[in-house]
Every structure is written in C-alpha cells, then in structure tokens.
Symmetry: none
Subunit: 232 residues, 4 copies
DNA sequence: CATGAATGAGGCTTCATTCAT
DNA sequence: GATGAATGAAGCCTCATTCAT
C-alpha cells in the first residue's frame, strides 16, 4: 500500500466501541456514519483527482461536512487513504473469500471466485480506480496491509488458491507469487481499461481473463487426476 | 482598473539547433548534456519519491545544477515528467520494434521481441518504476503519448503484433485490445514485483510471462488435436 | 502521456451573504472586518513601496494576520489592488457626487463639489498616493473600472458636470474629455505635490486649482457681461 | 524620479572619454553606440510592460545584444531607468530651453516654448509614456534628477519661466511651484490621454492646454504694462 | 463534536546578476 | 568586450492542519 508518508507505528486508533459493550451506542453509530461518509467522499475525490490532487476541503465538501470534522475521524490525510484501502480492501478480500456453495472442482471454484471478484469490481468501480493505483492487486502490497491491521487481503488469498491448484496438479507448479503477480496484473489492467468506458461489462472481461489465465497456467501433464479439494 | 498583471506570452526562446546545420553545434551538444542530466536525475528522484514527492530542488541537486538551470530546459515540472515518459517511452518502443534478424515464425518472433523488452527493462529499472506508474503499459495511454509528439509507443506495437498473430491463426481471434491489456498488465505487474528485489532476473520472469501468455492466447485449432489440456 | 497536472477550476467558495438575509450575519461582519483590514494594510504598503515592491507578506504583517489569510479574501495579489482601487474609487466618486444642499448656481456647485473632493483627499492621503499612480484621475481608466463592477467613477461624473457647464453656457464648449483630462491632471499633480509634505492644506490647493480651472475654462460670452474678471 | 531602489551615492561612472582626449576614440564611439542601443530598447520595453514587467532579457533582445552586454554598460537594471530618465529628460529640457529666435513678448514666448515641448513629445511618444510614469513632469522630481547628474530639467525651467511671467505682471503672483504643478499635471494628463490613440495631434492638444493655462493664470489686474522680457 | 477561518511551512517559478568561454 | 547559460535568492500561492467558537 503506497503509504504517502513513511510508516510509523501509529497508535491503534481505538474504534469507538469499547470491549464489553454489547452493542454500539448511539454515539458510536453516529461516529460510524460520519466516518463512512468521509471515506465515501474520499473515494470519489481520490478517484477523480488522485491522492495528491485531492484536497481535504474537496473531500469535506463532497461529504457535506466541515473540514475540521474530517480531522475528528482521521488524524491526517494519509490516514484516510490508508483506511480506505484497508477497509475496502477487506471487502474485496471478503468478496473473494471461499463460500460454502462454491463448486468443489478446482477450476470451477477458481472461475466462480474470480468472477465474483469481477462482479464486485463492477459494483465498486469508483473505489477500484483508486485501489488499483495503490497496489491492491500487488502481492507485495499485502504485507503492508497486514501491518496496517487488515486481517485478510485478496492477493494473499489468491496465492493460497493458486498454491492449492498447484498441489492439486491442476496448475503448473511454478512459484505462486509469479502466478499471483501475473493474474493480478492482468486483472488490474483489464479493470483499468474497462473503467475508462462505463459501458464495458466487467464480468465479461472477467471471463476472458479467467480463461486466458487458466489456459496459461494449467499444468501440462496431468500428473495427478485429482481435481477436487482434498483438504481444507 | 489598472490591472497590474498583464500576462503576455513571452517570446519563445529559440530552440537549439538551427535548420541547415549539418551536425549539432557545440552549444547544442552542451544543451543536450544538461537536458539529459536533468532527465536522469528526475528519473531517480521520481522513482524514489514519486512525482509529487519530488521537488525541483531535489532534481537539481541530484543533477548537480542550480534550480534555475532546470528551468532553462523545461518550462515546468510537469514537462520533465512528460519528456521522461515520452522520450524513454520511445526507447522502449524502439526496443520492442521488429528487427531484421527476428525469427520468421510468429511465436518465436513474439518471444524474441517480448524478451528483448524484458531485457531492456532489466537495464532501465529505475525508469520503469516511474513509467509503470504513469501508464506506459496502458494502451489507453498510447493516444496521449502520440499527441505529445511521440512517434511510436509500445502498446500500439504490441497490438499490431497480436493482431498479426491472430490473422496468422496462431493466436485466438479476440479483441486485440483485450489481449494487449492482459499482457501489458501481466508484464507491468511482473516488472513491479521484480523491481522490489534487485536480484530477480527479469529475463527469466519474461520467459515465464511469455509462456503463460502464449499458452493462454494460442488459438485452439479445432482441427489440430488439443495440445495441452482438458477441461471440465 | 499522463499529464500530472489536471487543472480543473476548483469549485467556487460560496460568497458570504446569502440572498434573503435581511442584515449581515456575524460571519459576514467578521469577513468584512478582515477584508477591510487587508485593504487598509495593502493601502499603506502599496503607498510605501509601490505595488511591485509590496510583498504579500508585508501586507499580512501590517494587517497582523497570516499570509494565508490574505488569500481567504483575495484570490491573488492583483485582486487586492483592484479591490482597493475599485472600492476606494467608489468612495471618491461618492464624495464627488452631487448633494441635495449643493448650490444651484453652476460655478458655486462646481466649486463645492471639487472642494469636497479635495477635502476627501485630505483625509485619505495614503490611498491617493496609490490611486494616483493607478489612474483614478484618468478618464480612460474609467471604462476599466466600470467593467470591474464599479457603479460610478469620478472622471465620469466630472465629465458630466463639465458637460453640463458647457450646456449652461458657463464653460467653453470644448471636448469635455479634454477638460476632464486637464482638470484631472492638474488635480492629480497638485495632490501628489502636496502629499510630499504632510503640512500642506489640500483644501487650499483645491481652491487654487478650481480658480485656475474656472478662469481657464469659462466661456467668453460676448453677450453677457464678464462676471469676475477682465482679460487681455 | 521614482528610483526603484534607494538612492545610494553611486560612484560616478567614468564615461569613456578621459579628460584631455580631444575627440572620442573609436572605442568610445563603439561604447556610445551600444549604450544608446540599450537605452532605446529599454525605452520601448519599459513603455510596453512597465519597469517591473520589463526583463533585462527583453531589453537585450530588443537591442539585439546579449544579456551580459547590457551589464557592460549599466551596473543594474535600475541604472538603465535612471539613465533613460536623466538623459532623455535633458532632451526635453533642451527642447524647452529658450532659443534665440523665441518671441520677445512673454505670452508668445510661453506659447512658443510650451508648444515646442508638445511637438517634441509628439516625436517621442514612446519615451514619454515611460517618463510620465516616472515623474518627469513633477517639480519634486527635479531635485532627484539634479542629484543624478542632470544639468537641467524641464520643471525647473518651467518654474523659471512662470516666475518671470509673474514678475512681468503677466501672470498672477502665486507660488510658482503651484503653477508648475498645475501646468505639469495638465500637460501630463493630456499627453497620456493622447498616447492612447496614436491619431491625436499633440500640438493641437498643446494649444488647448496653453490656452486654458494662460487664461487661468493670467494676472487679473494688469498692474504692470510690461510684457516683454526685461532681463535675461 | 461540528464548524470553517486562520495559520504558515513549503513548493514552484521568475529573473536580476554573474561568469566562463 | 560580447555572449548567453548558470545561478539562487525571493515572491506568490496552496493546502494540510489547528483552534476558537
């Protein structure tokens, strides 16, 4: 995650709710609403003008709040980007996460999950135009995100998935990082391209990418007939 | 009311070389040297701190010249980035250009040229860390480059090549833009990943990318027996 | 090529008072105070060092505010001068404007009004040292002022008055512009001269100028008996 | 003379020729040519863009010489303006100077000399647009000019002339300074106005000014019949 | 806690002046 | 002496951040 400033171990911002409270107080909910508003606004503005081109004032204006209010929720500009990438990043991650009803067959499973990701991107174009510029598709990026407190990240999960594919003998036994980069890069570029004209159906593009990737990464010699997940 | 400001476009400083001079004068050469020095410095500084993080002062310092001198060669900061992307971009393009001794066979030719590109990137890591952030791999980016006066651009050539592959029946007949994006994205990501640790051999990565891509994009000739795989 | 700069006209900050407010809000009043403070400071500094010699920092310092604050009220340095000339210019204009209790007789009226102007200048020496350098006395200047949004301007009114005098047969029927220039120039020079030493009583100078001008511009009516004087 | 910087007793620039040389050497003549070229160029550029708007580079370009060369003749920008005002100012002064064939009658003499001045301005519009902005018409200005080494100055001569007119009983016995200011201001304004449209015939304007002034300043009671100069 | 004006460090750019050729 | 590129001090303006209300 391209932190604009150097990473300093920022004190964990204690999120409203204290441990022990059974449900969010009215105050906490209000906080959450404002916070979310800032993030949504920032998403738009970052997407439009880029991180440096976006002024706090712009974000505040878009969120219909005062500049000072922004600072009640984020210590500095940089933190907004961080939060945005981290939290939205987790959503991506969640979209990509395996689900109970995912097919058992590896390739189908792969298709399903990646396609789900594209569908998600379809819905959140705005965010992705920001995210893509800030490394959400980069595996290297993952580490930083984790430090920032994110639990999961998409490249990480992707790697896991690809590793599994390799173990199952479906995918070529290559350095999984390589595969992640390759696929991540292709996805990113496809996304960015599609973002230019709103019309494009991202799911369609997704199928293309998946197909290309699978053909490319499929193991040459089916040394193992197993195509189903053996273990969790 | 007497506006104090009366911006009139100051007369253009006449650009170096005069028509008719058969070879560059000493003056022109000196100019070229300084200009190049600025660009080289800018490349480093941009790579290190990003465009916005880079101050003209930094660039000047790195180039061992005064701030004002930078402005003898570039009208504004932005122009430095432009020149960098345009001129270096042309180098990439040139590296990718077909050569007399390129193999005749499409796939070999493809390999050769793309590999040459990776070799080139190997040599100019610094620049690419900048370029990649500024769309040198994006086909959409190409148009803008052309407007900026660049003669050729890599994505454009890539598209041409892929189109040719399709016509030859070697590659799948898909929208070439899609293929360009896909490959461009994969290359970009691979490059970026490799840039993190200097050790990585980019040519090696290049072979991987080429292989992945070719497998993925190869036309599935219905007449020829399926080459490598089965699918669910 | 990804131009880093993407100048979009930033949304306009909404100007103070909203339509419908019957009287200025506290906010608007505060704004007015700051604005006035900047103008007053600018007046001094401009007078002291001239427009170009005056640094924003100087103005801010004199106004006891921060540099940035200046820019909360004026978009650029130039705008300060504009506002100064326009708004103060309107004051002059207002001082010169006809009043209910002005004498009916043309010459007396002329005297009264011009003298009022000198009295006003007496009070605002600082400003006039700026204004005189920027054409407040020039009729040509008037047009620009009007464009800038000023409702009235002194040279314009002066012209009107002189034209009236001509129609009444009191003044010579000459091109009024000429008369305006002549009188304006004389006033300006007299003012500037008097500004050098604070002591001079401007009203006294005013009477001199009026007298000189009237004698010079009075119509030589062959029919009417000469009013005040004989001539060679 | 509005010196842009503070007046510091600059060392007298030793003008080429050394005492004792009977006529200017070739070198001195060359120097004089360059120097004059700079001044002429500066005149134009100052007139066009004002002192602050004029860059040394502009002046050099207009003079078809190199920037550095300018500095061989003038220690700093400010000195160019000084020289311009001083030397050209002397020309004005010379134009205004009494001549052998000037009429003996005071009024005629006055007319002749002032008209000569307007004719001169007609010829040197460019310069006057600069000069007028820098106080060549101000009597206060005179002192500074004198310090700068000028032998004579127009306002000074004008004062002398007016004083004489007063002594002769032709003009009202007022503070001559006042009259000088008045006339100088009127002349200046008339000039400036006429400069806007090239068409205007300055001599015509001159006659108007002279007429206006004479009527205004003529002594009311011819307490002395003498109208001819009594002494030099 | 919301507000939004005040703050001032910092960056880009200009241009008078210097200086090596 | 002419040249014109190099120099860098200095000024305008922006905008993240603070703070009084």
């Amino acid at each position: 995650m391209s932190r604009a400033k150097k990473l300093q171990p920022k004190e964990q911002p204690i999120e409203g709710k204290r441990a022990g409270a059974s449900h969010p107080s009215l105050r906490d909910e209000t906080r959450a609403i404002f916070r979310a508003a800032v993030l949504r606004a920032a998403e738009d503005v970052f997407a439009e003008k880029g991180y440096h081109g976006a002024r706090i004032q712009d974000i505040a204006a878009r969120a219909r709040i005062a500049v000072g209010t922004v600072y009640n929720y984020f210590k500095e500009k940089d933190e907004i980007l961080d939060a945005l990438l981290r939290e939205q990043g987790e959503q991506i991650s969640r979209a990509f996460m395996p689900r109970a009803d995912d097919p058992a067959d590896f390739e189908s499973r792969f298709r399903t999950r990646v396609l789900r990701l594209f569908a998600f991107m379809q819905e959140h174009r705005t965010f992705f135009s920001v995210a893509a510029q800030h490394g959400v598709f980069d595996p290297e990026h993952a580490e930083e995100v984790m430090k920032s407190g994110a639990r999961r990240n998409m490249p990480g999960q992707l790697e896991e998935l690809l590793r599994e594919g390799a173990e199952l003998g479906v995918l070529r036994k290559d350095n999984p990082q390589r595969l992640v980069r390759f696929l991540g890069g292709a996805m990113r570029a496809t996304l960015m391209g599609a973002l230019r004209d709103d019309a494009t159906d991202l799911r369609d593009e997704g199928m293309f990418v998946i197909d290309m990737f699978l053909r490319g990464a499929r193991a040459t010699k089916p040394n193992a007939p197993r195509k189903t997940r053996s273990s969790a």
